[in-house]
């Protein structure tokens, strides 16, 4: 029997809409859940994904991917590959597993919202496959991390992290809940597949896999590559949805994409920035974070939104300038507060690494050098206690990251300072003007979010000091992050320290 070609039958199975007679359309697709706005229902039937996939093809392809991912893992499990990895490379995978495993699971209901409330059959079918993808990613991440728990307790955070109130996890939860849990199907498509996946993670995963492979973490590279190919497919839901919304409500589309991009890059600055510029072993670095962001994120994102008739986000100049600053600040902050982390940050400022940083960021030495020099002095002086904080940083009410780490000391245009807003008699503080503006627009939802500072001040954290914070954040003494190399990098500067002390 001759089989029909896929294109000859596929529309029959992907366009499954019909006219309702017992209920009206708005009952089946309520506006708060679907979010189609003024776009005519008929318009949604023109929704087209570029890369089509039947369920049979999906299952066959996924089976191959699963077989490949797990067989490589099984083979490598018998080697000592992991034991010989650089500590910075391990830090990268710990950071990934802890911050994203449960987020992959959160993406399942996000995809299912689109699978139920998406406004045309083709979109709903694609979202069903997306939900299956995200379930697979959760399982892959959890399974790959689980094998390593016996070697390093930080890998336990692949499943533990989002069940804690760790400050970094509160930041992740606030962003991803706001992007994936509460919005309508249309807003999820604009925020998740279009902005986060097409704009950030799809490209980041390519870089992350390449970097891991270069650093010898074949297992992790294999895992990320397997996930990335799924992302590339289900991320398609963004484009056709944006196309439809642009015809009736371009301002809304612009707002959703602008706010999501800003908040996503804030998280990137504290996760991907330190990972690329400080944790990854020097010999394995291909690009700096700024180069990566400019080439892969900025250029492609701008080209992409301009193709759809959108404008450059209002904060673009600030964002570009912050690419030189914010992740260095985020890195110094996370390193200083390393006892609150579920990974071991590599300081990444040995002499050779510092030279690399200065070659990539001409203002690095002037801005960050003096602050790190004091740290280096303290280590060589036998005062590691002075490399630790005494209290918590103030946290931005919107992105939940420390106030100050959207910029840098010495920045003329965006100096370190909080941005204030008074609402209903209460003071709110933000790391940047874009965070303040986003909070204001979304205030009905955001007023209820509590930063770790809010929790400390309202008595939720007891005792109200750093010890109480560790307990509240679920960090036990065995789990507290520490310098990845036990400060060995600082002894690069021992001669300078000795000379300075001799002269004083």
């Amino acid at each position: 029997m001759t089989l029909l070609k896929r294109e000859e039958w596929h529309d029959i199975t992907r366009l499954t809409d019909w006219e309702f007679t017992y209920v009206d359309d708005g009952t089946v697709f309520p506006e708060p859940m679907s979010g189609g706005g003024a776009t005519e229902r008929e318009r949604w039937h023109a929704w087209r994904e570029d890369y089509r996939c039947s369920y049979g093809e999906y299952v066959a392809t996924q089976r191959q991917k699963e077989t490949a991912a797990y067989s490589v893992k099984a083979a490598l499990q018998r080697t000592n590959l992991f034991d010989n990895l650089d500590e910075g490379t391990k830090t990268n995978s710990k950071l990934h597993f802890g911050s994203l495993t449960q987020i992959e699971y959160l993406a399942v209901p996000a995809e299912l919202t689109m699978a139920r409330f998406g406004l045309t059959g083709g979109w709903r079918n694609m979202a069903v496959l997306g939900a299956l993808d995200e379930m697979r990613h959760t399982q892959l991440n959890a399974f790959f991390a689980h094998e390593l728990v016996s070697k390093d307790i930080h890998y336990d955070w692949a499943t533990k992290a989002y069940h804690t109130n760790n400050w970094a996890i509160i930041a992740g939860r606030a962003f991803f809940d706001g992007t994936m849990t509460s919005p309508s199907a249309v807003d999820i498509a604009l925020g998740l597949p279009f902005t986060i996946e097409t704009g950030f993670t799809n490209l980041q995963f390519v870089a992350l896999a390449a970097g891991a492979l270069e650093a010898g973490d074949v297992n992790f590279a294999n895992l990320i590559s397997s996930i990335q190919t799924d992302e590339a497919r289900h991320a398609q839901q963004g484009g056709p949805t944006l196309d439809a919304i642009m015809e009736t409500d371009p301002a809304h589309a612009q707002w959703v994409i602008d706010r999501t991009f800003w908040l996503c890059q804030r998280l990137f600055s504290i996760v991907t920035g330190p990972s690329m510029d400080y944790y990854t072993p020097l010999e394995s670095r291909e690009q700096s974070y700024r180069e990566f962001m400019q080439e892969w994120i900025c250029e492609q994102f701008l080209a992409s939104i301009e193709d759809y008739g959108l404008q450059k986000p209002w904060y673009w100049d600030e964002f570009i300038e912050c690419l030189d600053q914010s992740h260095h600040s985020g890195h110094l902050g996370t390193w200083f507060y390393r006892w609150t982390l579920f990974w071991n940050p590599n300081a990444g400022v040995s002499k050779a690494e510092r030279e690399w940083l200065c070659s990539k960021y001409p203002k690095w030495e002037e801005t960050w050098g003096p602050l790190w020099d004091q740290v280096i002095h303290n280590v060589n002086d036998g005062r590691p206690d002075l490399t630790l904080p005494t209290t918590l940083p103030w946290i931005c009410k919107m992105c939940n990251l420390p106030v100050g780490c959207a910029t840098s000391p010495g920045s003329v245009n965006y100096p370190v300072r909080p941005y204030k807003l008074v609402h209903n008699g209460k003071k709110y503080w933000f790391c940047s003007d874009p965070c303040r503006r986003i909070w204001w627009e979304d205030r009905n939802h955001m007023a209820h979010q509590r930063t770790i500072i809010d929790r400390l001040m309202d008595g939720s954290v007891q005792p109200a000091d750093l010890t109480g914070c560790f307990d509240y954040m679920g960090i036990s003494s065995e789990e507290m992050g520490d310098d990845a190399f036990n400060m060995a990098w600082a002894f690069d500067y021992a001669e300078e320290y000795a000379a300075r002390m001799a002269a004083s």
């Binding site: 209290t391 370190v416 909080p418 007891q462």
Partner: protein, 89 residues
């Protein structure tokens, strides 16, 4: 929940030249000079070197300097206020 923190005044402080602002709790009876020391404790010789013999000044959000002999209560500082501290010269 009744806690000791209810008697403290928790503010956001930034030391000049530092890279982030942080939470500091003052006693209402602390003088501003003592409050400056509490802010400096989290920064000086941790990220910024000390300047022997040089004191500190505290400024309000609008940049006006707060006299060092006032208490925190007399200065009118409240929870969630923002202050900056820097070297006095």
């Amino acid at each position: 929940m009744s806690t000791e923190t209810e008697t403290l005044i928790s503010v956001q402080a930034l030391f000049d030249g530092d890279f982030l602002s942080f939470l500091v709790a003052f006693e209402p009876t602390d003088t501003i000079e003592e409050a400056c020391d509490k802010v400096a404790f989290g920064v000086i010789n941790r990220r910024i070197p000390e300047r022997p013999g040089v004191g500190y000044v505290m400024r309000r959000e609008d940049g006006t300097e707060i006299p060092g002999n006032l208490t925190v209560t007399e200065a009118g500082l409240e929870d969630s206020d923002y202050v900056t501290v820097g070297f006095s010269s």
